[in-house]
Symmetry: C2
Subunit: 529 residues, 2 copies
């Protein structure tokens, strides 16, 4: 296994998939219309070889030398995740906090050896999957040397159990590689975060990633049967069980531990058969309140749609190319076992009760009826991060933040958060900006709203501008009963709000667990604990 060479060192995804000239022109023209007067000069990424990257401050023991890379571009590409603030710093050639070495274990024994070395040398180590963190989760943002533990060489599906529908999968497998290995068994994990192509199973587990399903199995947590972890204090794995009540769940302690308690090396995951039936509908609403009520009715109906994504008018216009007054709901049901007509029909009755109008329906086995905004939205979804990077190069402040709250809180929560965002944009970016909202996941007791911000910045200041907006919106989220993250994790960027949100007894328990498993404190310092 050789490291992937298609990845962009400075921005999202792969170099080959960056926006085409035509896509760029269309995007820039659209922004020029929305934000007239904004300076759209393109600032190209620097040549990484020309950057003053300091030489490594540590050398590996000879037994591990083979696994280590000190290549400058390799180190630069591992220095941070793919948040707007990461991309902007890369575009400006910021070389602070670059890992000294990138270590690529080929076996679990290698992982043990690396942790032993780092523990005995008091050397911080940052576990790293696809590097798609948008919360500073993989950045050695501290003084002194650091190594990054890139797990992508551990990329195999080791075992498949077709009867129970499970597979034992190494943590470093990227989404597509993992699905490719499951396909011959006619099984799928069906976990499709936006980062699917560029993130790994281990990263999903360590960050409690949100995936394909809008209801029920919203997080990777729910697809996890057992986890194997290497910690500095020892290695262990939970038993493969469909359910258990034997003490607090061991897996739930490592799910979301963000590389601070141990390194996840493999997991048994729950799989599905590929869906044979799929029905999708897009529904327009005249008022946002009605759209939210309809979405709540569906979320509380027990129908469990696979997709239940409510786009507000701005999101619908920008990313689905559809003009609506109140909101656009994308609903989908899917099954490998049975037609889902009864499910969709009842859901459409519910949305009709709340004033929704069906714009289009799609059946996997039949032609599209009506104008299919759900497909436009899906294509846009995959391209969004590339567009974000193109706009970051053009002095825009373009970023997202996401959360969850209860339904009763949502109206005032949403008003407070969008108000905070608009005020911050007005103050920091001089008034030019757009705030969008969609629900990525919905629960019987509340939605997971996902916000987008598009504002005109000033080249050289967009990082500081975003950071100010981020503080304002995060504080509004915290003050109005939301979670600082529904599925992007805590990393280093969310620490202040996470620390306030986390109950004190749990904080004490987590600190103690960290000390027990990582006595030298080498694992991803600055994250969570």
């Amino acid at each position: 296994m050789t490291p992937r060479t298609d990845r962009s060192w400075w921005g999202w995804g792969s170099d080959a998939a960056q926006l085409t000239a035509t896509e760029t022109t269309e995007l820039v023209d659209r922004v020029a219309l929305l934000l007239p007067g904004h300076d759209l000069t393109d600032h190209e990424p620097p040549d990484p070889h020309a950057l003053a990257v300091p030489p490594p401050r540590v050398a590996p023991p000879s037994a591990l030398a083979d696994l280590c890379s000190s290549d400058v571009v390799d180190r630069l590409s591992h220095a941070r995740g793919k948040a707007f603030r990461d991309v902007v710093r890369n575009l400006h050639g910021d070389v602070s906090h670059i890992p000294d070495l990138v270590v690529r274990p080929r076996t679990e024994e290698d992982v043990v050896a690396v942790l032993d070395w780092c523990t005995s040398s008091d050397l911080p180590v940052v576990p790293y999957g696809g590097g798609s963190s948008v919360v500073g989760g993989v950045e050695p943002r501290f003084d002194g040397p650091a190594v990054t533990l890139d797990l992508t060489a551990l990329d195999r599906v080791l075992e498949v159990d077709p009867v129970s529908r499970g597979a034992r999968i190494q943590a470093g497998a990227y989404g597509p590689a993992l699905e490719d290995q499951l396909r011959p068994h006619d099984l799928t994990l069906r976990h499709f975060p936006q980062s699917f192509e560029f993130s790994t199973l281990g990263g999903w587990l360590a960050t409690r990633a949100g995936g394909h399903f809008a209801t029920l199995a919203t997080h990777i947590d729910d697809l996890t049967e057992s986890i194997r972890v290497v910690s500095p204090a020892g290695t262990g794995e939970s038993r493969r069980l469909p359910g258990s009540g034997a003490g607090p769940s061991p897996d739930r302690m490592f799910l979301g531990s963000e590389g601070t308690l141990g390194v996840i090396t493999e997991a048994w995951m729950r799989l599905q058969q590929r869906p044979r039936w799929q029905r999708t509908a897009t529904v327009a609403f005249g008022s946002y309140d009605a759209a939210v009520s309809a979405t709540r009715a569906v979320a509380q109906s027990g129908l469990h749609p696979a997709n239940c994504r409510l786009l507000d008018p701005a999101e619908a216009l920008i990313n689905a190319g559809t003009a609506v007054d109140g909101g656009l709901l994308i609903l989908a049901f899917e099954s490998a076992d049975h037609p889902v007509d009864a499910w969709l029909e009842r859901a459409l009755e519910l949305v009709a009760d709340h004033g929704g109008t069906v714009l289009a329906t799609r059946d996997r086995a039949a032609p599209v009826q009506g104008e299919d905004a759900s497909r436009s939205w899906r294509s846009a979804f995959i391209r969004m991060p590339y567009q974000r990077d193109a706009l970051a190069r053009r002095s825009m402040v373009v970023e997202t933040f996401e959360t969850a709250c209860t339904w009763d809180a949502f109206p005032s929560f949403h008003a407070a958060v969008t108000d905070a965002a608009r005020r911050a944009i007005a103050e920091v970016c001089g008034g030019q900006g757009i705030v969008t909202c969609r629900f990525t996941h919905v629960y019987p007791d509340g939605p997971a709203p996902y916000y987008g911000i598009y504002a005109g910045g000033r080249w050289g200041s967009t990082l500081a501008q975003w950071d100010e907006v981020k503080v304002a919106v995060s504080t509004a989220i915290a003050d109005n009963g939301g979670t600082i993250t529904h599925h992007h994790a805590v990393g280093r960027d969310h620490r202040p709000w996470y620390d306030a949100q986390r109950p004190d007894p749990f904080a004490a328990a987590l600190r103690a667990a960290k000390s027990a498993l990582d006595p030298a404190g080498i694992l991803n310092p600055g994250v969570l604990v």
Copy 2:
């Protein structure tokens, strides 16, 4: 609030609900048929006032004296749970390990004061809800004094949110009291363990209780929005959130902590509307393998039945009064939102594909079609523990154990476990005995089998006889990939197998968490850690 006076001090449930003379005669006649020659002499429980219960070894500080009871019957009723081994010891007048005081806090401040007193006095404290533990979870099975913290005075629903369908409920509320307070809001928690009448919300949370739903929300964990905990090191509560990815789940650390990390004082729980549509079917199979395959197909179908309980022929005969060769599957769908015909119809197609024959169907709104074994089974279910006690009085060894495993493992697992049970019964009880199995919950990746044992014992030896059988079956469970408990918790009785099952890194984390939250080690010593 005065303590419940209807409870049996020595056996299950309430004194008033013990078997009637007719029920007893019927039961005893049935057993006489199944186990001819067994000595069915009735051994009545002793007069608790005549037992040599030692006087309390501790006195409370005067500020807490009001909350404390040293009444002998009160102390005896709190001395152990309601497992067979507890009932037998009570029947024999065993007075070892009786708590010195029963303390009934009326407010959370009282709980804090009790923990402060116990911490400063190095006095073990056993948190106690309804006392229905069947795993030694509430028994001060250690030397030296102990107090039992009975939380049942904290029994109110404090707040209801009808929009998000949630309620803030005090931990000491019994099932019926909690449902009574939710009924005016037309909402229900719909968590119905067999112990429903005699167990509390806090007990359910602390032990990860299994409830009404055979699929999806199988455990109370899934109905939990946030938890408030008082630990010796401080008090805290998680935020009310429908979903979150902010670090490892704080609630999942306390769910299943069995009173070792803190005392749960209240929780926000997810509620439902009462179902308006319910359809039930009972399906007979000619072979057990076919019945298991059919059940797996339903569990993997995405239809999410509320009930999907597979009874083996012995269980079907004894508890549902139905003779089948292979198995009896009780299937039910329910909804507050929509008719569930499409769901049941597809499930019946699946079971027909595996050779199932529908014996009866029931529609909430229509008369029963066919012989309704599902209703017989449900009535039997509620009466089972009372029957168990009547048989315990008659020198029978009657107990259950439960687990979960993956579908691929189930055939060999089931063979090994039933074989171990039968061998142990033959060796220990001289060959007279029955082993039954039902699935209480099913998952896409495996079932949760629940076993019953009925064997003839010798008066004075039934405790030792059961303990030997328990070791044999627990070892078979552990050796064949099951969990030592799916929803009965670990307590003191499951420790050896739990310790072996728990991954080492998690064990280290849990011990460290315990030390941080309960530095004096006063909380439920001997459980989990």
